[in-house]
Amino acid sequence: MLLIVIVLTFLLLESASGDAVDAYLLSIGGGDATVAQSLRQAYGLDQSMLARLWLYISSLSRLDLGWSVAFDRPVLLLVLERLPNTLLLMGSATALAFGLGSALGIVAGAKPESASDRVLSTVSLILYAIPSFWLGLVLSIVFAVQLRWLPTSGIETIASGKTGLTRAADIASHLVLPVGALALIYTALFLRVMRAGMADVWALDFVLFARSKGLSRSRIVLRHVARNALLPLVTMLGLQSAAMLGGSVVIESIFAVPGFGRLAQEAVSGRDAPLLMGIILVSAVLVICINLVIDLLYAALDPRVGASEPAA
């Protein structure tokens, strides 16, 4: 499967008019044809397409993602350098969205068609329609520009010399706005899925049985209904991981978080094909890993999913 991703992205980037050498020459103010020729030779850009595809795949198998033309550094190093910031951003946003979304979903789904359900459903519909980059801008206008509570951009205060806990607190305060902007939309999504799932479970026989046993309402809601409605939510978590990674590209560029997504944007503006390819590949690997974890989690949550079934 990864091989298909490799070939497809390679073909896509191959169809570009103009290569990294063109972009580089443009940025240094032009150069003559012999310079361009020797540069192309150095980067192997003068060989045939198939030869380069083979070269690329064989070097990938040695975990060599190539050399970034724009940064003049190995792609793997660049990606690994930026990845923790994005994982931090995505991880906290996912945790927040999952926790808040499922909690509010339980409140809404505890009594379908009640007033609290209506209000929460409407609010989540509106939230779900908000583009995350715009939400990010509005949040930064309110909390960073008007109220001055939080920093507008970056991942930590530059050259602050902070260490240990103060540094962690500094990073946390920089992350509040981007995490909020990314998480709110997914909170709405998880809320809706949780609520819909609970509405379905309410109609099932075992809930009726639990009721006739005389169990308390809160126990039925939490132990019987919510627990079963949580499963589709976990599935959703895996499905959305790719979208969330894409969403963090925009969020990172708004809040100037030096992460993976911002690297993608820099690769685009630098016409840095090896870097862009590396980013797409690493993100695909990341999504596969996340889904693997989700599958394992699923088996732990739902005893019906046996170990005999192969993980998709």
Binding site: M1, I4, V5, L8, T9, L12, L13, S15, A16, S17, L125, I126, Y128, A129, I130, P131, F133, W134, L137, V138, S140, I141, V145, A242, A243, L245, G246, G247, V249, V250, S253, A264, Q265, V268, S269, R271, L276, I279, I280, S283, A284, V287, I288, N291
Partner: protein, 274 residues
């Protein structure tokens, strides 16, 4: 026609239909509502909103009319959103139909390609695609469709697999219909409704993706879009935040309209099955 009437009976459907109908009218009559090029310099730069009756929503850094931009931006958003969704569903239907109907090695190969497209973040893919080929409206449409066709393909295949075994398909095979004719006339119409139900979500996602792309400066520079207006306003975010806020509100209203319509559709579909 009956579907539409049923749709109007649900409050969500009616609200969504109302919002979208208004927006489509605005998009169609944009040249009448606000004549002239929306990118031309119309007045003094950075007029505040609600001050000058000639520019109800103010002007931007270059003195371009914000209201005119929003009116003309409706065209881009709706056109790109709908075109990308149609393209994505068309590709998805073809691939899903071929995979489900052909089976065997063809199915295996096609579904692996679908897998490949599903694990690559679609926004990254669109970003790479547009940056490689160059920004213009058809390229943006294609880029968005490229990241969105995997879901309808998967759904179509699942539908085809279940329909393929039904009795009326067997009957068609017995009377000697050509496989392509069976696929086209017997299977496709029955596999279509659930896939179409997905279309509203795809339209909404496409509108949001287009906005995000043009926000990052990867839209067509000669066409006004809400995303590029937000990006332009971002330069003066501290002094006049309204420049970014108004196009954003337009975006939110559009997407809410699409979601409401799809909720209404969902309710009528559920109602007709019950």
């Amino acid at each position: 026609m009956r579907r539409i009437r049923n749709l109007m009976k649900t409050p969500e459907g009616m609200a969504g239909f109302g919002i979208l109908a208004t927006l489509i009218l605005v998009a169609l009559f944009a040249p009448v509502l606000s004549p002239g090029d929306p990118l031309r310099i119309a007045g003094d730069p950075l007029l505040a909103p609600f001050v000058d009756p000639a520019f109800p929503l103010g002007t931007d850094r270059l003195g371009r009319d914000v209201l005119a931009g929003i009116i003309h931006g409706t065209r881009t958003s709706l056109a790109v959103g709908i075109a990308a969704a149609i393209a994505a569903i068309a590709i998805g239907l073809c691939v899903g139909l071929a995979a489900g109907f052909a089976g065997g090695l063809v199915e295996e190969a096609l579904m692996r390609v679908v897998d490949a497209f599903q694990i690559v973040p679609s926004f990254l893919l669109a970003l790479a695609f547009v940056s490689v080929i160059g920004a213009s409206v058809p390229v943006v449409v294609l880029a968005i469709a490229l990241g969105a066709w995997a879901d309808p393909a998967r759904l179509t295949r699942a539908q085809v697999l279940s329909i393929r075994e039904r009795d009326y398909v067997a009957a068609a095979r017995v009377i000697g219909m050509h496989p392509v004719e069976i696929a086209w006339k017997e299977i496709l119409p029955n596999a279509l409704p659930p896939v179409l139900a997905l279309s509203a979500i795809i339209v909404a996602a496409a509108i949001l993706t287009e906005a995000a792309l043009s926000f990052l400066g990867l839209g067509d520079p000669n066409i006004v879009t809400w995303g590029s207006m937000i990006a332009e306003g971002r330069n003066v975010l501290r002094s006049s935040p309204s420049l970014s806020i108004f196009p954003g509100i337009a975006l939110v209203v559009t997407v809410i309209g699409v979601y409401l319509l799809s909720e209404g559709f969902g309710k009528t579909l559920a109602g007709s099955e019950a």
